[in-house]
Point group: D2
Chain length 432, copies 4
């Protein structure tokens, strides 16, 4: 995680201040439950809330000696709470604190990512309606296929980010569990009701079986979802990069006054934001496999997952948060060139209507195979710059034997392709 | 996919026979809808169902010429249906057939994988209750921690495979969509009601926006789930491999009469099945990133995903299906050695009770830090083989100033750790 | 590995016939060395060579019973050799045979891949010289930058595949080792000279320390190289896909008569081969991480790597072999449109010469910052379709104060950019 | 990259100070060459060296406006150099600076990593000789196989890290190239001799063909090597974790006085360093695929690789540097328990000698199959705790018909397995 690709909202979740604050809350809520159960004095629980505090430099100092972060934290806490501190953490193990804290952090991160996706969705919806009826060429294999509208393209991305949102909600549920079950998850030294109490206070569910740790298949699933969402970011980023290519030039990232595209070539205006998003998607995807390798911990746990999570926990969420926000901005400010879209659409001499001609011929009784051959033989010369498709068709006796000139011209109507745009918009947005 | 790691049930889904059968059904159902809408003659739709057939060698032959599989299939179909065949596939594009077919295949595969997980769950549940009260040592970091029961271990895996099942159900929903929307998804040449009809007949939902293809974020999510499930397989496999280690030897894969463990060393009995599962998990995880790289197709589609899916579609599902079945068998027939578990549990001179001693001392008013120091200084000599933990405690005046011999002995009671086993079983199985 | 993406030359390497042939040679050569050392009778070694044979169905049959492939092979071998067979495999362990065999197979595969790269290199060299002086626009960020030649582009790919070749040669060396060291690599039951003899006969080097197995860091490195080579395949494939885009259309995959680009749109000519290569690259890269996960085998070995290698060994080499051959064919038959290249180059109103104008201004004493501003303000209107770059410059008094019209015109000379093409060709091909 | 897993030596390479220092040197050396060629005044080159300086906060300030880091740097440089600054960077493009700088940084990083590996090698060599003759059980599949020595184990790791070293040297060569070739690599505005001069001064080779950027297959190969080296780190880490398992307990990470293994269980001594290394290996491997995805940049370059490299450049090298140093320390201070090794070796009732018995029987004329059956039937009861292997053999008439008691006893000699230790040591260390 580097400042260049970080937003403070997400960085804050991963800062020591937030982590130790959550640790404190876990311990203090646990004390409440323990006091309620009569395991520790009520005054002790009260003292923790009242005098409980932590001092990060002090914690760091202690950790350098004992080489154990939770013990360092507890020692620092004890220095503030005083004698009652000996009731803190009773029957608990470090992982009860660490894993429940990570659950809270990942839940906070998921909340932010869902907000981010909502920004992307809002920008996509606004621009989709803006260009609902703007014709543009649909491309398969990078080759002109048939007309679509630019709004329709954006609607497709909206549907994809709706799925991204649903996946993030599911991923948040996956990791929002609490474990306060002791050294090997048996609750030998702590009542399960403590776990239930802390879970409720922190907005988590109790983990059904924790084995010192919360099982890592949950985290693997969480990071896998981030990888899929990042891949959706990439798809839209690549679309925009393609649209901005010099030869296509149908849309362009906003280029601010004073911006320089190249140190050497003053004419350059490059899609650097979406290129950047393409790279960030690779980075987020790169964290998925380590998260999956973390699942097979030994027996009741080993700690190999910890170093991985210390890095990919912040990095994956910070980078994806940044990427989603950048993407929302790009979509919001995207400069769109409808005239250029129309020019490109027209550039292939009407070839994009080849299917309609094919269908029209079959409706006139030509076999599919023969119709295909007829249309193809009039299309291929157009690629070689040897005339317009419509003219070639009108000059082909086998075609004109079936279709009049007027009928042929009717097949080149753009509106024909837009007939179901409203239907699709209603599917995606519930309105058209 | 190689025969060694394949079950016929899953292989069948990916065979040409099943694929062309689904293609035929898509085309035939589409004809029904088209006929109902009056787009094609009802006799044509009827003819397709009645005379429709395909001939795989013939399809292969045609494909070699036209280099296009769907066209080859349609040509072969036309040879059976006759003249009415020209109404088949009208307004559709190859991807309508290919992607909807893939959705059906992945749905069939998911159904089978869910059945497989159910076998694993059944085996785990049976064995978990069998060993519900069998004490064994819980280990963190590979080091003895505190006692658990073997049933509790298995209950934890059961909870994990319950999650695996839920994820597979969600993954199945992700990919169970139908696209019959034409060349670039505009329905220009085909009524959306055709899509709705085919979807319903095949147990799919219509894809809200398809852009020639069903968006690949769905498939990425599907394969990501397979990767997570495979990682859970690995966790249980690694557990069993550890339990079978010569020094641990608490459980063992079933070793059949006539089996040979090594060509050189006749004494060997190796956990080869779970080692194999460890490797298979790596293989399945390896398919996740290619599936994610498939998301960012160009514009309305490019075909780069196709070669990837031709391989990872069958391979990932076949390997995971095989792995889950092998795992169910391993769990089912696992040979468990409770006496050995008890011997291991006892091997560390009672060290595993150190936390209870710590807690007992704090309850007697010793600060957590002092108690920790007291217990640790009596524990460390045991690692060096210098006595039993209980004896050392009884000989430490600072300990005996707080705890009587009887109190110390009471802290070494195994039953103490089993108190919440029923609670946990009820969480997992709904019964105890 | 599926027939669609397989060439028989590579498939043969992975077929049982080749594997058992290599096993036989390992055993027979080992017998020779053992006989030479006096460990076994010379007649025994002779009998193995003379009567040694294997019968694959019989091996399969035995394996179903003993569940051990090497034992099955040896049993079948014994059925042919007769009594002397008891001297075969003496002091050896299965992995001696399996791992040395895998080394031979990977070496054979590497040889083939190197041949494949040579085909790619030959095609690239021929086409590079063909288009050495064909101007085309160089693009950064997908945006026109400055002119290059098409031959120069191809020379860059040639240099990259020279590196691919060198990496494959190094990868071949990595895995070309022989281990005949017994059950845990101590040579307790077999003289190291046996290993040396077999290594020499098979063109391998003895593995310095094998621990039953040849260490898997070697194989990880091998598959990592395949992943890098596949990524280079992808780069060239993506280049061609870009060049074939309808708006660019500077080059095109060969489209054979009779070929159909789309079942629905008869006009389509799609870059399906290079799209396919893009997907195959993802597949090969997907095998890299499993190969790396294979490194950390337990102690002297576990067998988790085996299932991975049974799949990725054939799959990675077969797919890459296919991809390289396909790529060589694509380059060889690529249809190139120099006129279109020139038209695209000219399409931006001369913007591509902006750097030369910038440099000319600085040479006239304008500061870099001022010169940048001057050029940029005349370039940006061109993007908006508001005139030709050269005209705008000539109309800008601040520019004309420094540069005459003739000087400005001189800056728009295409030949200027070609001056070092020969230099670069000499670097790459050793000739220009 | 987080401080917890960072060493200042490697962090420094990635800090702005070092980066801008390298940028400055590239520009200044280029000015020298340009002056030598008469392209710019010699005084200008002199002025750059004499007055050249940069001010990081000022660069950051400018970058916020122009959104281009190299332009920001050049502007800051110009503020120090004065008027002659207009000769700086002439004919160059940003990537000339950025990519050559990255080459220098990766080369510096590689140098450090090679030093790190040397520390690992030194520690392994020292400990290998220390335990050259210490018997320990060799394990395959986690199951006792046959005796080895602990020094032999370490020698195997030494050989692996020798390979790691050679791979790092090769990887360093891969990325140590210089590109000063202008906007699209044509040298249109800069003489190739400038590149040659800068390359020589910085200890790099000129890149044969750069297309604005140095081709990313080089970097992919570099990071792939880091992934393989990290996997070797993992293998040794996993070995140590296994050896420290409570039931095995043959070696142990150094546990410092004052250290606490668990907040809850004072008796714990966990292999946390090697568990940590296991996790760090996953992290480094996770960067390999993004690096490979960076290869297929569009045309002469796009900038998607940049964000990836900004993260994985520092992260991969910093983490691996930390891991190698930690590993060297672990090996150096590893606490080894030879008595425990011997006890484990003896624990299986002599089963580990089964192969020798097998071989002895075949030498007496028993067929391999019969001998195997004979040995196996006496070995299996030992697993079930039903006697010592040697006793069972002596009581089996079919065995005793071939082997006398004395002969059987001779087969249980440990020294037999150590005969070739010196041979192997000489292969690895060149001495024994």
């Amino acid at each position: 995680m580097i400042p260049r690709y970080s937003r403070p909202e997400m960085v804050r979740i991963w800062e020591p201040e937030n982590k130790f604050r959550i640790w404190f809350e876990i311990e203090a809520h646990a004390c409440d439950a323990q006091a309620e159960l009569g395991v520790i004095p009520k005054e002790a629980a009260k003292a923790v809330w009242e005098r409980g505090a932590f001092d990060i430099p002090r914690i760091d100092e202690i950790e350098r000696e004992v080489k154990h972060d939770v013990i360092a934290f507890l020692t620092s806490l004890a220095e503030h709470v005083g004698e009652e501190a000996r009731f803190v953490h009773q029957g608990m193990t470090s992982s009860d604190v660490l894993d429940t804290c990570l659950a809270v952090q990942l839940k906070q991160a998921a909340d932010l990512l869902i907000e981010d996706v909502d920004k992307v969705l809002a920008a996509l919806e606004r621009r989709a309606f803006e260009y609902k009826d703007t014709p543009t060429i649909g491309r398969s294999h990078g080759i002109h296929a048939e007309p679509v509208t630019f709004g329709l393209k954006l609607a497709g991305y909206h549907a994809e980010f709706q799925r991204a949102r649903a996946r993030l909600v599911a991923a948040r549920d996956e990791i929002a569990t609490c474990a306060i079950s002791g050294a090997v998850g048996t609750f030998a030294n702590i009542d399960p009701r403590v776990e239930e109490h802390v879970a409720e206070k922190l907005g988590l569910k109790p983990e059904p079986v924790s084995t010192q740790v919360i099982p890592r298949d949950r985290h693997a699933m969480f990071f896998a979802v981030l990888g899929v969402v990042a891949s959706s970011v990439e798809r839209l980023a690549v679309e925009i990069r393609h649209l901005q290519r010099s030869e296509v030039y149908e849309a362009e990232e906003y280029f601010s006054p004073g911006q320089k595209g190249s140190s050497a070539m003053p004419h350059k205006r490059n899609p650097v934001l979406t290129e950047n998003l393409t790279g960030l998607a690779r980075v987020v995807r790169g964290y998925v496999t380590p998260a999956m390798e973390n699942v097979a911990l030994w027996h009741e746990r080993d700690i190999s997952h910890s170093s991985v999570e210390r890095m990919i926990g912040p990095d994956a969420t910070i980078v994806l948060d940044f990427a989603l926000n950048r993407l929302a901005g790009v979509v919001d400010k995207l400069v769109v060139y409808p005239e250029r879209m129309m020019a490109n659409l027209d550039a292939l001499g009407g070839l994009v209507h080849s299917q309609r001609v094919l269908l029209a011929l079959t409706k006139k009784g030509v076999s599919r195979e023969d119709a295909y051959r007829l249309v193809q033989r009039n299309a291929m010369p157009v690629w070689r710059g040897e005339g317009q498709f419509i003219d070639l068709l009108k000059a082909d006796p086998e075609v004109t034997a079936r279709l009049s000139d007027a009928e042929i011209e009717g097949l080149f109507d753009l509106g024909y392709h837009m007939a179901q745009v409203d239907t699709i918009f209603r599917r995606v947005f519930g309105r058209a």
